[in-house]
Amino acid sequence: DTFAADEKIYRWKMQRYTGTESQKIFRNFAKDVKEASNGRLRITTFGGGELVPNDQLLKATGSGVLQMSYGYGAYWSGSVDLARIESGLPLAWTTLDEAKDLWFNKGMNNLLVEAYGEHGVRYMSPSFGGDYDLLSKEPIESLDHMKKIKIRATSNVAVILEKFDVPTVYLPPEEFYTSMSTNSISGIIYGSAYDYEQLKLQETAKHYTKLSLLTPGFVDNILVNQEAWDELPKDLQEILDTSVKKLAEDHHNWLIDGAKKTLSDNVFEVHTLQTSDVTKLTDAAQDLWNEEAKRSVRNEAAINMIKDLAGSNGRLK
């Protein structure tokens, strides 16, 4: 049978870091791939934490436990030099167009392909996220006010806030609801209004403050195990490439539409951080950029791209 090689069925496991809320998008992606490949490439998708803890997604994809993953670089910024920049440094980009420009014209994508290549995975595509703002129990419009409350934040943002003596703690998303409802923390920086509504946090806090720190507020990635990729015939590689791009697009639109709806439904009361504070944060952010640049030659190249971008858009003096 001369067609045997082409008829081979590839069965892949893919895990995302998000829960059931995004299940439909990933099921559709698997369906697209299966149909386009006539059933030769079949991807079973798993939700956050189902097979491996989310912070182990890169490790699992690199070693072949998973063939594919949808993850967030900040989870492994301790082992991939570029990951913290990739997932979003404060004020590195302020619009979707800027982010796309950085990735595909300035060369961020190539740097990421190189960085992830060292971990046995192929960097397929970024997946641009939505907003990244503060949810709090009391209305907050200034950094001084933030100093008086305890805020949950991940390390990128925490480092900047600590410069302004704003106390931060790290908690996993599973603990948000109980910590907020018992007042053990009174603010969270995690995502968009839509993310907060999904977690039913409107039952614990009403105030949503736009920080204007970063838009898109986070950038996810779609990774494939390099050996699994090399095994695929050319046509399946092309099919996967196309479907991955569509997945990233669908995921982004889903987040943006959801956030719009949550805000127009008035689930939260919206506030903005005062302009003088945004300026202070911008200055502090540049210190953070420079610290990141020192981590490796590759990081320095990436930060130069970001400075170049900000300069050409008039954001940098």
Binding site: T20, F46, G47, V65, Y177, T178, K200
Partner: protein
């Protein structure tokens, strides 16, 4: 990778587990062996990293820190004689009633359940505290072990509850509503257990004898004996208040409990280096056992989930084109069967993403279904061969309680849990009343 019928995979994995358990392989290693073996056979060598990733995952889970804390607390209270005084008190007050000490134990279980989010807390600490106290007073070993294991499982249902937090996170339901929905069914089950214990002891007094006529004390003596309630009462109140006021997270509250136990022992003038050292060492031995069982269970479960077998079994129910009530019945039956072999988080991950949309479509309330799920998982903690509470009990029970006794002792309580489950299924208001009052 080999393509295999999911039912065959299920049979092989569960079958080899049973085989190893029968030949006396320690449970933790049996889970590790079957998990590793299945991964190699079905996914190839590359997938072996799964085993170490899972191991590190369990080590790296903050909420589990509560486990050694609660165990240490239980041991310090026991070794310093505080809990023996407490049970002596319960015995004096309720001693005239046959089975009164058993009923008191269930109440204490409910209180510990309200302090801790994990079932191990109540099961292990009461296994250390209540078990010897009741055996000493002539209670039947099977009644006592069964009551403690069933009472310990209330830790799931009475908030806070780790399993509810995971369920809520996966389904995007409100944790607050789930917590509220668990309170009434939890109290109801506690009441059912108490009634059962009082009834069987009345029918057959040798199971839980009343105090001898001449040893009974008058009301003056009863009130005086309430003194032994003070120290444990202060610990429990502090932990609850700290958690509810947000001074500490539930996990941190377990540390407050541990410190409270040491301080109580000091106040009681029974704290010594020997007590402290003994409690620390026993905590380490128990945790060494629990930790590796958890690691083994995670490895086994994750690999089973990854094979997609559970998913296919669950999907076959959905595709069966059954009436809503029959679907519900099938779901509950599935939970019972899976519960015999898998741990609760595995069942959660396998079934909840599939079942909850169906439940919504059929018009059932997802918060109510969450409680049905938790009730089913409580049963899973008690059903052989794989039931966490059975292992917790085995690890703390004295040798004269044989494994057979432990397995036998749960039977009536599993039946009682089914009664409780049926009540919640037929009268959803038992679960839904409190959240409706609090949130609307």
């Amino acid at each position: 990778m080999i393509d295999m019928d999911p039912l065959l995979v299920t049979a092989i994995m569960f079958g080899s587990m049973l085989f190893l358990m029968i030949i006396g392989t320690p449970l933790a290693w049996a889970l590790l062996i079957v998990g590793t073996g299945s991964a190699i056979n079905l996914w190839g060598w590359d997938s072996l990293d799964m085993v170490v990733i899972s191991t590190f995952g369990v080590m790296n889970t903050f909420i589990l820190v509560a486990l050694p804390m609660f165990i240490f607390m239980g041991l310090v209270l026991q070794r310093s004689g505080i809990t023996d005084d407490l049970f002596g008190m319960v015995y004096k007050v309720m001693g005239g009633v046959k089975g009164g000490l058993g009923a008191g134990t269930i109440l204490i279980c409910a209180v510990i359940a309200a302090m801790a989010g994990v079932t191990a807390a109540a099961t292990v600490s009461l296994g250390l505290i209540a078990l010897p106290a009741m055996l000493k007073r002539g209670y039947d070993k099977r009644l006592v072990t069964g009551a403690i294991m069933a009472g310990g499982a209330l830790g799931f249902l009475i908030p806070p509850s780790i399993t509810m937090i995971l369920y809520a996170f996966l389904t995007r339901e409100s944790i607050g509503k789930l917590f509220a929905a668990g309170v009434m069914p939890g109290l109801m089950l506690a009441a059912i257990y108490i009634i059962y214990i009082l009834v069987v002891c009345r029918v057959k007094p040798s199971l839980g004898p009343a105090i001898a006529e001449e040893e009974r004390v008058d009301w003056r003596g009863k009130i005086a004996s309430l003194r032994s309630l003070i120290l444990p009462g202060i610990i429990i109140t502090t932990v609850l208040v700290f958690t509810m006021k947000g001074v500490t997270s539930p996990t941190e509250a377990s540390v407050i409990g541990a410190v409270g136990a040491v301080l109580s022992a000091a106040v009681n003038r029974t704290l010594s280096l020997q007590v402290l050292r003994g409690a620390l060492q026993e905590t380490a031995r128990i945790m060494g056992m629990l930790m590796w069982i958890m690691i083994g269970a995670v490895i086994f479960s994750k690999i089973y989930i990854g094979l997609g077998a559970g998913q296919i079994i669950a999907e076959s129910i959905i595709d069966g084109d059954l009436s809503p009530n029959l679907v519900l019945l099938m779901i509950i039956l599935t939970y019972f069967l899976l519960g015999m072999f898998l741990d609760d988080s595995a069942i959660l991950f396998i079934t909840v993403p599939l079942f909850v949309p169906i439940i919504n479509e059929l018009g059932y309330d997802p918060v109510w279904f969450g409680i049905v799920f938790i009730l089913a998982m409580q049963t899973a903690y008690l059903t052989p061969p794989f039931g966490y509470n059975l292992f917790y009990m085995r690890s703390v029970a004295p040798p004269e309680i044989r494994t057979v006794d432990i397995y036998h002792s749960v039977t009536p309580f599993i039946l009682l849990q089914m009664v409780g489950l049926a009540l919640v299924v037929f009268f959803p208001q038992i679960a839904l009343w409190l959240p409706q009052v609090l949130f609307n």
